[in-house]
Symmetry: D2
Subunit: 387 residues, 4 copies
């Protein structure tokens, strides 16, 4: 059988956001099991976090240096490490684990400078270890479908790439109010010289490159700080020149009021165009020259690569799995509450119960009876069923 691989994690302790996302993602397909961690630079928080996640206390480390050393030495050591620390630690942590011969899955960015990134790339090649980045958007089935279509030449010769990434969570100067996510991202000392550019502009650029298969040759750019007093760019606009005369625009903004996470890519070729909007990830719009726009949907059509990145049939949006998981989460809460002799959390009270099962069958039986009676109005038999 395919036993799960053993995963370690650096960063991602209590209070962190992206660590939790990595853990769900690692767990979802049953391919990974979290077994070790250096979850926080604060030893107490590291222990508490490890306990909450059910890690063996002997594999909750006080430092990532120690973790790399000791896990490399164990016969059942981790197969890979996930790095979810603040950005400036990505390179040193990745270096330590690669040197220890351990594969690395790193949150983006790979490093804080191109020079450091190139050094890491060389190290991984030398040690023959995996060094990969979680540019999430390239994991969508329809993004892979887009790339497959570009590779297959379905767009003809590429001409134009438009990519945009609009958010609004920095539309007010919340970095002054102590909001932690905002505070470090708007502080040049912590985030480096790139604000929105580094935070989301790089995602937009990666998506454009991933789908088109092209890297820009040169850029003409302007950064702005549209919120008065902000110390880093919160709006980026860039004109791009790709090889062979392909032209592009990229804009990314964290002050585009009303936008949640509006990452959107359009690629125009001589024969057809593609459009992908991250907020509707189950579809890809394809328009051949002179023809009607086609809405390609995840699961119904697609390349082998797109099919391999989908788990459920067409029409069941990604998200169906989370809805399903919610029922399991609610059931767990009901069982725990009963055992602990306490009330169920109000937010889990809407479990689908046996009463619903009864009501459903009452409905079916009444419909069948009405139909058999030539569509006569037919009452449902239901005693005390509650929705």
């Amino acid at each position: 059988m395919n036993a799960p691989l053993r995963l370690g994690m650096v960063g991602g302790g209590q209070g962190a956001f992206i660590g939790g996302v990595h853990r769900i993602a690692a767990r979802l397909d049953g391919q990974w099991q979290l077994v070790a961690g250096a979850l926080s630079s604060d030893p107490l928080r590291a222990l508490a976090s490890a306990d909450e996640l059910g890690l063996d206390s002997s594999r909750s480390y006080a430092s990532w240096q120690e973790m790399a050393r000791r896990e490399a030495a164990r016969p059942d050591g981790i197969d890979a490490v996930a790095i979810v620390t603040p950005n400036h630690l990505h390179a040193p942590v990745a270096t330590a684990f690669l040197e220890a011969g351990i594969d690395v899955i790193c949150d983006k960015p790979l490093a804080t400078s191109q020079a450091d990134a190139r050094a890491l790339q060389a190290l991984a090649q030398r040690r023959e270890r995996l060094l990969c980045l979680t540019h999430t958007y390239s994991g969508y089935a329809m993004v892979r479908q887009a790339r497959a279509m570009v590779e297959a030449g379905e767009l003809g010769v590429l001409r134009l790439i438009q990519v945009e990434y609009a958010q609004d969570w920095l539309a007010e100067p919340i970095e002054l109010t102590g909001q932690k996510q905002a505070a470090w991202r708007c502080d040049p000392a912590l985030a480096g010289p790139a604000g929105a550019l580094g935070d989301i502009g790089t995602h937009a650029y990666h998506l454009a490159s991933f789908v088109s298969g092209l890297q820009a040759e040169s850029v003409c750019a302007e950064l702005s700080s549209l919120v008065p007093g902000r110390r880093l760019d919160d709006h980026v606009q860039v004109m791009l020149r790709f090889p062979d005369g392909v032209r592009g625009l990229l804009w990314a903004s964290q002050v585009a009021t009303g936008c949640e996470n509006a990452l959107r890519l359009r690629v125009y070729g001589s024969r057809a165009s593609l459009e992908f909007a991250q907020e509707q990830p189950n579809e890809l719009l394809f328009t051949p020259l002179g023809g009607a726009t086609q809405r390609l949907t995840r699961g119904r059509v697609g390349s082998a690569e797109a099919q391999a990145a989908t788990r459920i049939p067409a029409g069941h949006p990604e998200g169906y799995l989370e809805a399903f998981a919610q029922l399991y989460r609610d059931a767990a809460e009901h069982i725990r509450a009963r055992r602990e002799g306490r009330a169920v959390a109000p937010t889990s009270r809407w479990l689908t119960t046996a009463a619903d099962g009864v009501a459903g069958l009452a409905f079916v039986e009444a419909v069948l009876a009405s139909h058999r009676a030539g569509s006569a109005w037919t009452p449902l038999q239901q005693e005390g069923a509650t929705p």
Copy 2:
């Protein structure tokens, strides 16, 4: 800490579909661990399935009867069983586990008759055990938001409920071609007297009841078999009378050409209306009388119940987690392939690599340089970066 609860599964062996969905759902939040199973009535397949899932062979049972008995006797026995067998076994299996004092999570329908369902309901009450159904659609955050808004009176007095569930996978007589899913669903001997009605009509009805808080009082219905020769209904249309003069329509079809899984609910009240479409589960449309339609989005606004059913911020659609998981799946494949000395599966070849990390930083540095030079065109430094 919250150790995961122990889950057993009846049904869901190799080749089954919904069992896999249950397993992902159970795993996603880290609340459940699959430890036992009677995965198939075929002993060999049961064992192979258990092995593939990493179950201890001593807890792979040849029958669900044995499983109920022995798990109930173990000190570390399962906390709950998930029933994913063919429909006619739901009631006997659930009965066995409830009798053994084990909580039950059952795929829908609860039973094949209302009488059986009521008996199960009573048994669960008597034994004080959980008996819940996986009506998935009620797990969506925005469905819970809809219910919370109805309960809070934001729609005023309810007047009208429109629910529809349109698919097209039975638009041709594929039950004659040996397609397994179709064959049993179109055979009255296996599926009972209700075709599309039982398969998806019940989901539509549950969704309408869940959100409105209402059960129908009576129905006026017509079933049709629109594909020539089909032996069960593939199209259902029902007029409904709910309490207090509320009126409704329900239609469900498995021959609505062009529809994938188009479950859609609209509820109209005296003050406002709501609309939910399952294929766009991250949004809920709300229109107050005389006002503009508002697009409520998961994560940005919402009741406590909706917030509790969401895992990631607004604008990151449910599905973001699957995209993320895809990267972890690809990384696992890369590591396994290297260790096994084989090529990476082509469908996993698009991992985001260090080269992408380098390219991203090359982009950032060029943008910063262009900006500092008054938006001068600035080349990217990139040596061998490949998308």
Copy 3:
């Protein structure tokens, strides 16, 4: 040349709504010229209305009986009459003009009973005169495209017709507040026994019949008055049986809170389906079995019939003409205001002026200059240009 035909109008005087729509429609293509009218049963209002419309006073009649008689006698008498009176007068007025040998364009319904309608139909046939109804929705290019596609067999064998017409303007009992449009429509004495059924249900039914080419064989229906105290139906739901086993649903509501004029048709066949939503009339969704949904747009693709019903290219929505007309309306207001020595109406103040023309050229010239200078930032030359 094609001189415009001469049009007379019965009804449609000051304060009426639909008369104005008929006049715009008649004028838009330059095919008709309004030359005579019996615009109101109130002689003073008839005269004032005729004057406002620029009719020769000798052709403003005090009664439609007189108008039919005298226009039939004139050598330059009207070519056709448009009937826009209250419903109960449609049949007698149409009868009078048909008897006088004059073609009739009648607002719907043709009569208040099927018997009267059949009599009129027979009369028109006998007199060999045109008797047509303004079921507006059949005039949309994409509705005609839909019909052409059904006729051409592109949907295969029809199976299912879903039509709905949802409004909300009667969601409150405004008939009690003196709202005129509501008062007569909700009064059985004036509107007859059908409320929403006659007002909009008939439009829905006509659209379904027009596109499918089918008339229902039988119906199973329920009418409701969902607003307490309302004396006629404000909600209609109907199950329909069409020939050859085709099934359908029709619902029409004037209390569907949040709906403006949501007429929507879906037709499902064995090979493909079509969807048309009146509020997006420039597009038609077409989905072949197993394929992607295609968005067919007015002007880009289409049958001869659809092309003949379009005036402007693809991407210029119907409505472009109204936007264009607005500029002419504003220009007229500016000229009239100047001549009358008064201020321009505030709502016409946003005329596009010479300053805009100057600004546009300043933009063009600056862009050309920037481009020629290698994308250097280049100021616009503009002195006093105001948007």
Copy 4:
């Protein structure tokens, strides 16, 4: 009464496109009557065109110079002239009519250079005559609504303006195939130095300025000819600096495969944002910071300015009038065909006839009967009704 104003037209003879649009627009509201023209520089075509349009032959002029002179001298001379000639004639023709004291409605651009445009602007001011441009998109009700909301401060302080205008009709080198519209637009000798920039970039810029109330201060631009061999720009991308730190992007393309006439504006302010897409002109999306996106619809909500630019109620899209007009056009064709003893044009054969009126009443009567019989299935009485 408000007699229509008298309109003359220069250009717009047989074969021209935009002249016909101007004539429909002028006619639609009944404010203008076309009475004179210099419709073509080719005298025969001018006469034929005038005849086709029903102009008095004495007012069909061989030259616009003569037309300006003679119309100015008539007591019933034209109130205004519409200029729809090739671009290079706009300035001289406008000059002639302004000098003659006649108001001018000019297709865009006002002139071929900023200097000429400024001279015209000064002339119009000196002669106190109207000189307006038909920047159509500013005539949409929801564009005016957008402007009114910006003026009222509903967006807070403006920060960001994104405007794009994407077409694909030049995605292939059709200027080489003799396509007339393409040939002159792609020839620097006829179109001047700006291709897509002058043709549609100026519309995008005008829309951005109209809604925001801002003119750009400086631009950083790149023009491209993405179709090999094309002699003028077919793709434009511009970064813009507006006053007070407002930033913007504009792109316009005539090679964006799959785009029909995709003009789209987004304006972001500190408190809210607006989005308008020309292909859906009946709606405007408004999103307050932290709130839900609202779909504002023409007719339902709006400023006085928006209301003044709408003719029909909410939910009746602009386009409803064209659909209505289609029925009148079809009726005219039926009458003419009968009189001329010929068959009706096939494209006008789908007139709604008395048979439809009968069928509609059969439907109403059957529904009423079914309802009264407790929703019993009730056949329709219909003899020979055809859809």
